[in-house]
Assembly symmetry: C2
Homo-oligomer: 403 residues x 2
């Protein structure tokens, strides 16, 4: 099982450029000697590659700074404010476009009008116009990342299913956007964008970012997994679609064709339906959006409403069943639960852990961290930006003339 790509000479050079950029990105100012030691590269290789990166204005020298044994040495830095990316998050009814620097700091955010099945075309046109305008205003934008609901067929450009809003299936994201702009566009399934954002920007996740799962529980239920330092994609790009794994083969039918999909039990539309069926906890649930209804439930629970807390325990049980699937299928070191449902907070997390503890293999339960995201929910668009930033850091020669 070899990773064949990195062993050609051009491949090794690009990998080492990328590793130096990533080292500076994650560790801040470093001397050449520190980089050489951290990456196992020779001083000669470091000198050559850093010269190239400095000439291309990707990294730069700082003044002297304290090196090993108090010797002064010249620092190198990757100025994360120098380059910008655009992140576009396509949820079912919510489309947001943000501009970020490489450290994930947001310089602008545009939220498009609420999308329905009938207005998808208009929305797409607005996305084009907004991006054109942003590129015109900010020449430091190097790339665009887009996050779309899964299962996303990465090679053909379509999402295969968008439960409760099938109109998105008609959009071919590749045809629509890939060659539309002066900078490259990278399109990824939303939960996979989320795991990239966690590995890049979340201080708590960074330490375990070679074995990390981001479990998105929102309008859909999705999963992104970094296994041994690499994203799991699958042959068509539709792997890690936990939302369509069945938890009950005789259960509720799903738009995807399967029966009993996890998504049918703990996504915001599922919770919204629970609230409508219940009729008492959130009395006007039927007139709310999915997100509004869920947030009303979570607010009641925070105020100690017992019926609301009981419903959160039901939801936590289902989210916990999903964690058990993740344990057995992917065995990551850390599961980060994010998106709207994670706003239910501690009572949700407690129930998830209770459910998982009851049913998991003890050794796996004890060694796996399950926690709620520490990134704000509205930062979901940051996941889209993370797709572009990851690509930028991984493939510098596609953005600069490096030889």
């Amino acid at each position: 099982m070899n990773n064949a790509i990195t062993t050609t000479q051009a491949g090794v050079a690009e990998t080492n450029r990328s590793r130096i950029m990533q080292h500076l990105y994650h560790n801040g100012i470093s001397s050449r000697a520190q980089i050489a030691k951290a990456l196992g590269l020779t001083p000669a290789a470091i000198t050559k590659i850093t010269a190239q990166l400095i000439e291309a204005h990707i990294i730069e020298e700082t003044g002297d700074f304290g090196g090993a044994k108090n010797r002064r040495s010249i620092g190198l830095t990757l100025d994360t404010t120098r380059f910008h990316v655009i992140g576009v998050k396509f949820a079912r009814s919510l489309v947001q476009i943000g501009v970020f620097d490489l450290a994930g700091n947001q310089s602008s955010l545009t939220t498009l009008p609420y999308v329905s099945n009938n207005t998808i075309g208009t929305t797409i046109a607005t996305v084009h116009d907004t991006i054109e305008q942003l590129l015109h205003e900010d020449p430091t934008i190097k790339a665009i990342g887009m996050a779309v609901p899964g299962p996303y067929l990465r090679k053909n450009g379509h999402t295969a299913v968008v439960s409760s809003m099938q109109g998105w299936r008609n959009i071919n994201f590749i045809d629509e956007f890939a060659d539309s702009f002066t900078v490259p566009v990278f399109i990824e399934q939303d939960a996979r964008a989320g795991v990239l954002a966690n590995s890049l920007f979340d201080q708590d996740s960074k330490t375990s970012n070679t074995s990390l799962a981001y479990y998105l529980v929102g309008e859909g239920v999705g999963l992104g997994v970094i296994e041994d330092g690499r994203i799991i994609n699958g042959a068509l790009g539709t792997a890690t679609e936990i939302g369509h794994v069945s938890i009950d083969v005789n259960g509720k039918p799903c738009d995807c064709g399967n029966i009993g999909c996890l998504e049918r039990y703990c996504s915001t539309p599922a919770i919204h339906q629970m609230l409508i069926d219940d009729g008492t906890i959130v009395k006007d649930a039927a007139s709310m959006s999915h997100t509004e209804a869920c947030r009303a439930l979570f607010a009641l629970a925070r105020n100690g409403n017992k019926a609301a807390l009981a419903m959160i325990r039901t939801i936590g049980t289902y989210v916990g069943y999903g964690c058990l699937i993740i344990f057995n299928a992917f065995n990551p070191q850390t599961i980060v639960i994010g998106d709207i449902v994670s706003e239910a907070g501690q009572p949700l997390l407690d129930q998830i852990k209770t459910t998982v503890k009851q049913r998991a293999i003890p050794e796996i339960y004890e060694s796996t961290t399950i926690r709620l995201t520490s990134m704000p929910t509205d930062a979901a668009v940051l996941g889209a930006a993370a797709v572009a930033i990851s690509y930028f850091l991984d493939h510098p020669s596609e953005f600069f003339n490096l030889k």
Copy 2:
């Protein structure tokens, strides 16, 4: 997301040695020019590395053979009969020890007496003695591979659960075997060994061996997945444990602590219980072993027994539910179904495909090959050998003095 390991100079050298060995292993006699072209390496690099491999007697020159444009050139070959490995397959009640050459040709096979919970200690002692004897007789044996039931905790050496035979949990395979012999020992979960065997030896799988799942349906239910050319292991080595993914969160309890595990519905113990409960199809099922009872059922079905065929359709439906989990979790290009249950043959496969077609996302159904293994079931021990062979081909410097 970089693969950090291969970019040190020693790492690149080892990777390139391994790639040349693998090229010769998979493609047979090749000239230096052919290898250089196939692997994107410079002629100088090829000359240096092949000289080293020839000096270590890993590869050798053949006489002239036809090169490009009818020019004669010297061939290189990796003689797969020169080195042997031992494969040890630990199933629940069946332990087999085989000696194989690098191409998977078996030169001997020892089947140990039927194992029960009480005789596991004796069995372990016999494994030691048998291996010692084989190593004494055959100095070309370079490594030992062992395949054990999952979930196998690779770092600590224990299997976490062995449904229906918990005595195996007390064995620490690493403590027991890792440093016991004059050659190195590599221990792997059985289905992962199976996917390696398929990628090395199965002509039909070789073409898709960068995206391949081996779905073991036997005394246990397991899965090994090669994603983008690499095995998915998980943080503790317990990933891809599909047998303990629940298909019904309110279903049958499992020894692992979970409820409704797939393994409870289509493993040979589950089928055996179905036959005992039925009482009519295989009348003396209660007095048979799991495997015997299953084979009696399959024989009846082959002879057209309608009740037997109906039960195979039930089994195929459950195996199909497992394929749906594999689709959504891993999205491999090919799923190969192996071990005892695959002996049910075409009626089983037909039902699996029917079930999957009804419930899968059409694009994934259409692009995924599902087939029964073309390797004989008794070749399961070959999977253990494949673990050793893969390691040998991936890490030559651990077996030879190469510098």
